[in-house]
């Protein structure tokens, strides 16, 4: 790549965040309700973070090079060479496609202005090897597992009434303050139905009062007063699950007679309150043929800015094979999205989900496995259960093998640094009772580095066999179909 002209202004994409992570820095995607970015996480040595932080949208490439020369007491030519090597890295290959770093002929006002001093970390202490973040960044809160609906495809471990041992609202507020202090930017709510918990508005209020945002999925929505209150608190976006607009099919899928009328009312209340809505649709053979009407409805609403179709994936708690979307179902929805999407340029439509089986060619399968994505559970994120216990992935719920702490009696950082939390990525191999992992030479690296998808393990082999291999692993036995 040729040298970047020195008169250009530069800045990181505002959807990314540079963070001090104790003995290194990290560049990570901000989990914002309106984000359209892919998720990235890169560990950085302090010098790289400092130079990136100098690109505040108001400095040119030449000015940053001169400043870096001054800061490190060297000639400008050496500093320029280093700054150019950084730009070459971030503006080439995969990084360029991911739009990580931007250049402009004019200043970039939306750039975040960091204090470079935040990234001064003793070079002798730097650790770039360990993947697990020193401070958690993505936090999920399952407010309650109660849900008044009874969806045929539900993947959650839902219940028919609210828990009697919910974490006290006062304690949740204390946790929110601690999370804000750790640099967490977004609390991602889930459930059950996140809004079905008593005291939920006070909790959401606390999130915004502490400078964070909330990502809120719901199927019950909110009445006019509650929708207005959400907007007044500062909520801009709500995720609403809507599987189709045909009343009979919708009521069947949600398992509640008359649900469709409530859903349409709730959507109108959200729009009246000025809230943007992201719609999530679970795709099954029962609703695939109704996708066109749903796209039309969502597009005409005006405030629905994203419509995501996710092909049904195996539910641990209420699976039946008839729910798996067929190839023709998915192709039909993709065609409808392509055709009708042009009429609604304000609305992003995506079709995804449904697990692909591992490649049949052994070499290809090994390659896929070696280059699998990192699991972020217990590396970047954790999940607070309704009673305050902590697990590592939303779909593991209260599985005892994955409970890493209890915020009723621990602070967030006590939990994050506790032996169960740190030890989960370094399980003792002799304790694996049976199965391919018990004798695998790759065991330690597999668990500590990219990880096994624990959720898919228990979906494939059963709740009790959490120590089994990831079903994508070349040594894994054939498990249950996932998607």
């Amino acid at each position: 790549m040729s040298a970047v002209p020195s008169h250009l202004y530069g800045a990181l994409h505002p959807g990314l965040r540079l963070k001090n992570d104790l003995d290194r820095a990290v560049l990570i995607t901000r989990p914002q309700p309106l984000t359209t970015r892919s998720y990235i996480c890169r560990r950085l040595p302090p010098a790289e973070a400092i130079v990136l932080s100098l690109f505040d949208g108001r400095c040119t490439v030449g000015e940053v090079a001169r400043l870096w020369a001054e800061l490190t007491d060297r000639d400008v030519a050496s500093a320029e060479e280093e700054v150019q090597s950084l730009l070459d890295f971030y503006l080439s290959g995969e990084r360029a496609r991911e739009d990580i770093f931007r250049l402009s002929e004019t200043p970039i006002p939306e750039a975040h202005a960091y204090d470079p001093a935040d990234f001064v970390i003793d070079a002798r202490q730097v650790n770039l090897k360990e993947r697990r973040l020193r401070f958690p960044y993505n936090v999920y809160f399952l407010t309650t597992l109660y849900c008044p609906q009874d969806c045929v495809y539900c993947y959650a471990k839902v219940r028919k009434s609210c828990e009697s041992n919910l974490l006290a609202v006062e304690r949740v507020e204390e946790i929110v303050v601690e999370l804000a202090g750790l640099g967490v930017e977004c609390v991602q709510f889930s459930g059950g139905d996140a809004l079905a918990r008593p005291g939920i508005f006070r909790i959401i209020e606390s999130v915004y009062a502490n400078g964070m945002v909330a990502d809120i999925p719901t199927k019950i929505g909110a009445g006019p007063a509650k929708a207005r209150r959400l907007r007044e608190i500062g909520v801009e976006v709500v995720q609403f699950s809507l599987d189709c607009v045909d009343p009979e099919t919708l009521d069947f899928m949600v398992g509640v007679e008359g649900y469709h009328a409530k859903a349409f009312r709730a959507l109108h209340h959200l729009r009246e309150a000025g809230l943007k809505v992201r719609v999530n649709t679970v795709l099954t053979p029962f609703n695939a043929a109704k996708a066109r009407e749903l796209i039309r409805f969502a597009g005409e609403m005006g405030n629905i800015f994203r419509l995501q179709f996710s092909a049904y994936g195996r539910s641990l708690f209420r699976h039946r094979d008839a729910l798996f979307a067929r190839e023709a179902d998915i192709a039909g929805v993709e065609a409808a999205a392509l055709e009708l999407g042009k009429d609604y340029p304000h609305m992003d439509i995506s079709v995804g989900g449904g697990a692909l089986p591992p490649a049949s060619d052994p070499q290809e399968r090994q390659m896929e496995w070696t280059h699998r994505a990192f699991c972020t559970a217990n590396r970047d994120s954790f999940v607070i259960l309704p009673d305050g216990r902590v697990t590592v992935c939303e779909e593991l719920y209260d599985h005892p093998a994955f409970i890493i702490g209890d915020l009723r009696r621990q602070s967030v950082m006590e939990m994050w640094n506790s032996p169960p939390a740190r030890g989960l990525l370094h399980p003792p191999q002799p304790e694996v009772p049976e199965g391919p992992c018990a004798s695998c030479a790759y065991f330690a690296e597999c668990n500590a580095d990219r990880g096994r998808c624990w959720r898919d393990v228990i979906k494939s082999y059963g709740w009790q066999k959490h120590y089994y291999p990831d079903p994508r692993c070349p040594r894994a036995p054939q498990g249950m179909r996932l998607g």
Partner: protein, 32 residues
Amino acid sequence: LDDAKVKALKGALKEAQIDELFIDRFIDLMTC
């Protein structure tokens, strides 16, 4: 970043032995 902050930062970098930038191209990733 004013002059005073640049001066303080320069001292802090020296103390922390941060004196050059090397891009490690092999530290990783894309991940209801």
